[in-house]
Symmetry: D2
Subunit: 399 residues, 4 copies
């Protein structure tokens, strides 16, 4: 039997704080009653600063982030439209698959898993698109599979530099609410989040913010849509309601989550994610392991994907952590299966939790046969958290 806290370090769903958990324990209520708007409106209003927008309209989609991906496509584009995107991890790959399934032409820029969306190449492709065939550019802001953050502002710059008027869609599922996201400043047209990551709630709601340009595109889009019809949902939201029975408990949870983010202050939330992530990265380096992210500069502040040493199956590391230490790491996805494990470090997190992640990762790696020096990673992270500029060169001999 597992005892003690189940240490959850998957990159979502994330740990739900006690006050959010509590807020969701509500008797059922009439979603058509006037009181319902009193819950919905503050949630919609409170999400705007988290998305970095004052101009966009926000819709909550019962379902998931995947539903929001699809809604972005089916509400603004038409069959046969061309979209441009990089494929550099499991989630960008899945979004590309979806675009194909929905009848789009998808111009894919394949780069290594571990690289970010290549801004220059995007700019080159946009520049080459003389006839404006590219209707939208899709960017995965934070590739959860590889722990890589892409430069959305750079993509906006590329669009502007090319005088290209493609829409800009950004998957912010594992970034929004945890690291800076500036929808208006970056000229994002569709920004997509979910309830279960930086917003610290269970899964069950996709969240989508649509810019005025995206809203306008809905008038010409010819894709079939009904369940995910954004105009209907936005109109219902305007009236304080939903098109169909919503998961009301999640609205109560989101309201509590937004209160938390406001109380901590978004700038502090982002700084905390950065500080905690630096500790994790220092720990990984001190363990002598490599990140999947090709360079520190792209490394995500919400999730770190770590390659296991040659000959060590990451699935064993994960199974040992789970079965022996009640600790849950994310697995390597797609081609990274068995070759990497992931530490999610987003949402409601603190230093002690990060030390646990590293301490248990060390124990599990060692038990799986990796030549890890116990304590090395934890110590390095402690030095970061103690505010010591540089961890001392530890002269721990390999055991």
């Amino acid at each position: 039997m597992m005892t003690g806290t189940a240490h959850l370090f998957i990159p979502g769903p994330t740990n739900v704080p006690a006050d959010i958990q509590r807020a969701m324990i509500v008797p059922m209520q009439d979603h058509r009653a006037p009181e319902f708007a009193e819950i919905l409106q503050p949630v919609l209003a409170g999400l705007k600063p988290v998305f970095g927008t004052s101009e966009a309209q926000i819709a909550l989609l019962p379902g998931s982030g995947t539903a929001a991906w699809e809604a972005a496509i089916t509400n603004t584009l038409s069959p046969g439209d061309k979209v441009l995107m990089a494929r550099h991890g499991q989630f960008s790959a899945l979004w590309a698959d979806m675009a194909l399934a929905m009848g789009l032409k998808v111009e894919i820029i394949d780069v290594a898993w571990g690289a970010p969306c290549p801004v220059r190449e995007v700019e080159r492709r946009l520049g080459a698109d003389r006839h404006g065939e590219i209707k939208a550019v899709f960017v995965t802001h934070n590739e959860t599979a590889t722990g890589v953050t892409s430069d959305v502002a750079g993509i906006r710059h590329a669009l502007d530099a090319s005088f290209h008027d493609a829409l800009l869609f950004v998957d912010g599922v594992s970034s929004i609410g945890s690291i800076p996201f500036e929808m208006d400043a970056w000229g994002v047209d569709m920004a997509i989040a979910g309830s279960q990551k930086g917003l610290m709630c269970p899964a069950g709601l996709g969240i989508i913010a649509a810019s005025p340009r995206a809203l306008a595109a809905m008038d010409t889009s010819t894709m079939a849509r009904s369940f995910l019809d954004l105009r209907a949902m936005l109109a219902a939201h305007q009236a304080g309601s939903f098109c169909f029975t919503p998961p009301a408990q999640l609205l109560h949870g989101l309201r509590a989550a937004l209160t938390r983010l406001q109380t901590e202050g978004l700038a502090n939330v982002f700084a905390r994610h950065q500080r905690l992530a630096e500790g994790i990265r220092a720990g990984v380096a001190a363990m002598g392991l490599k990140m999947v992210a090709e360079h520190q500069i792209f490394a995500s502040d919400t999730v770190t994907a770590i390659r296991t040493p040659q000959g060590i199956d990451a699935r064993d590391v994960i199974a040992i952590a789970r079965n022996r230490y009640n600790t849950h790491f994310g697995g390597g996805l797609g081609p990274l299966a068995g070759k990497a494990f992931r530490i999610g470090h987003l949402g409601d997190l603190n230093e002690g939790m990060c030390l646990t992640a590293l301490g248990i990762a060390e124990l599990s790696l060692k038990a799986a046969g990796a030549p890890v020096v116990l304590g090395a990673g934890v110590t390095a992270a402690q030095h970061v958290y103690a505010g010591v500029a540089q961890a001392p060169a530890l002269s721990i001999a390999a055991e």
Copy 2:
């Protein structure tokens, strides 16, 4: 400030029993871990008898019953296909709208709101469909807007009698789990439910059961689908998982709900719904009010829609009940707005709750100006619940 129990008599979401509420308070967990299958598999298995099927495969769709409606369409049909359905209430009307939005031709049989799906007319249309253009028949088993239950077995008989091989899709959102539903016996190809009615959980999951014929139709359907791709979801379920992050708390809730249904026994659940509904109907009759359902024989055992007397706005009745008595009735939808209110009587319910519904309905109707004799409805229901065959002829003079 409202005090006391919020008496919820809307036809969904329904009251969540304490043990289900409790079961959903779970720390987040890794939906890709092997343990996850231990929650998912019993839910999928436990739903089968509730749907009356051993042959169908069941998928859980994060979203709602509306998502399941759409999944039924997009996974089995192709643009331009013709479907046949009756329109006799808000929910059948919305499903027809969806079918149109998804590119189907919809042959609609309009009947009065208050009538069921007209079996003979369906049979006539099927017989007239010489070239087999009708690919599917849609039936709203329980029209939640009017409180009318349709005869699904009769529709199956109509199909068989016409030697017609159209698929049979049934919206069982407000019937499954509360009144008998026999997917296999009735030859239903797609049966649709939601988590928030007879299954006594919050909203957030659509549930769909697909017959072998429906599964086969997925191979030829050419509709675009991705988020609601059933083959992908069924394959993921087979592996103990979901295509994307699921609302795991609802799975815990569903598991507890299925345990409740099994403990009470489905036959007892159905008998209880019938007994409680009879009390409500006896009460409505004793109040001198008319049901929207045209005849007792179609009257639903899960929801009763009640016409207010001439000159009495049902919205006033509902507002009085809500604001003065902390009691929530459903409103009249579409053309019934202001003309009817609805008492939902499904899910976790007992006699005392039904007496409250009637007692507060009387007080609210009276306060809204209706010539209701206080106590008449409650008394009639008590006689039903006491097992007295006939309520005595009350000689209460109108006040």
Copy 3:
């Protein structure tokens, strides 16, 4: 299996509202940390108006109201001291037993169960106590066993009229927070409550308020005490803490309960209890049953004890309500066992709940063989709740 709301009409513990239930779901915390005072202090401050005091000091005693009874005795009196009290129900009888067990001389005024504390007789005894041997008068403000409220202000008047300086101790367990209680105005020296009645929390805390005179008496009392030493607890409270590990979750619950009472407004809370109780009493009368309370004028607004008709065992009525209708009434205590059942109507309550209580009481009485006319009680209560001055004379023939 029981389904639907478990209708709880015992006179405590009472129904815990959803927001209080939620407030108690807290991670454990350090009761010696400075933050703890942030929970404790508002609870202590918020209780004062509920007790009607600005002068008294309040202590929370892990345990129950019974613990507070004992604390009142052992902290202010000495072995052999004489106390005066009426015995007119189970709870006054138990308090008298306790006083004897703690070594007091107890001058008991036995009156009928159903009568209140006899103010004139108390005044006579006090007047006869020439040597001031009576050190304290004990009053059970609301005798929960009989549904009778006593006149505490009258007792104070009796003390004053006799120029007697005995302390005045009042058991307000089932009155405080539900009906007016004026500790300062009535010159009460020790007032006792529990968490589980008008304060709408689970059981687990006795609450005691000590007047300056009671505090002074602690200096001379020679009774042994340790766990229930009030001076130690008051000193700990002063420092934001407890003498030993407290049930912290109940403090969170009390804080939420006080917020509810403040939001509704105490005057409204009292008026609501009175209005709801009047409906219950009208219902009981319309059923043709007698209250245990000898006269309407003493009838409690928090609990009604009802005699079953000759030949009808009240335990059968209670068992039928419980087993058939998931409804819980209080039993007759002591000599009333089998002869009476009790409807608690205090705490978080509304009209619909009271109608359920009466409706199910009728069904259960009838099933137990009582000649009750179904609907008569509910109808009478509805007339009260509808604001109709008089219920019409119903010409329902006895069945």
Copy 4:
């Protein structure tokens, strides 16, 4: 604002596991109904093996462990009786104070805080008690203030060797359920626990087990008692009930806690506590700090009291941990205030949590000015948890 898990390492209340937390979220219920026994009886039965008894009777006392201390005294002893006990920490000192307050003569053996109850000296005193004046020996099994476990079996042996028939009372509040406790084998007459330590529930219940000899002593005891009258409570328990309204939610919690202990297996629970404690002690030693416990051999497996280095105020360490790292350590009590802090490591705990405790202790000590090498303690604990016999001699230079 504090974020992330509040790491709770006080020695009680301990972390409440999610399933116990969930089990306590119950609607209120009638504690006089027959169903109540269905909750109470398994709790009483399930506690017996945890106390190591088949002969004793168990009573649940709303209140706390302190209430159970008092009940042990007032139910079996008489004013003026002599009891023998060691005073070697805050809790043994408080129990001695209580014994004095209740009118006992207390023969105290004062030993250093950090030493256990001195078995030989107890044996000497018993041998010297020619006239059998000592009616009871009190032992604090686990002195929570110092982290020292005493040898109860040794005290039993001392009693037997002296042919002394004093009763043996043991405070097992921070031991029972976490480390071996053998009431019958050790001949304990009164064993005392609370709900909030090894039993993983919130505070609110004292638990007392009375041997047949203790039960017999109740017939002759002349101490005043009422709220804590054990014979009345045991009789009520026998009938499936309580003498007064109990905190029913805690019974639900205890039932879930006992299920956890049974599922894990008591032997495994004890082994886990030992293994985790060894890691903590290895960590403390590697940090170069001293335990309050005078010798490893007495060191408690449930709590470690750690002396801060000369010049470092333990209160600073605790405040830094709390305010900067959302981590809660216990303070030094009485003469240890400012000189020691305590890590509670009992109840629902695992390796990752212990690494957090040590990692955050290091960071906090360092921030308070202590010459601690970051990572040293964590590393040492990891070696214990990895099953490596000896931690390697780390050549980490002091910074």
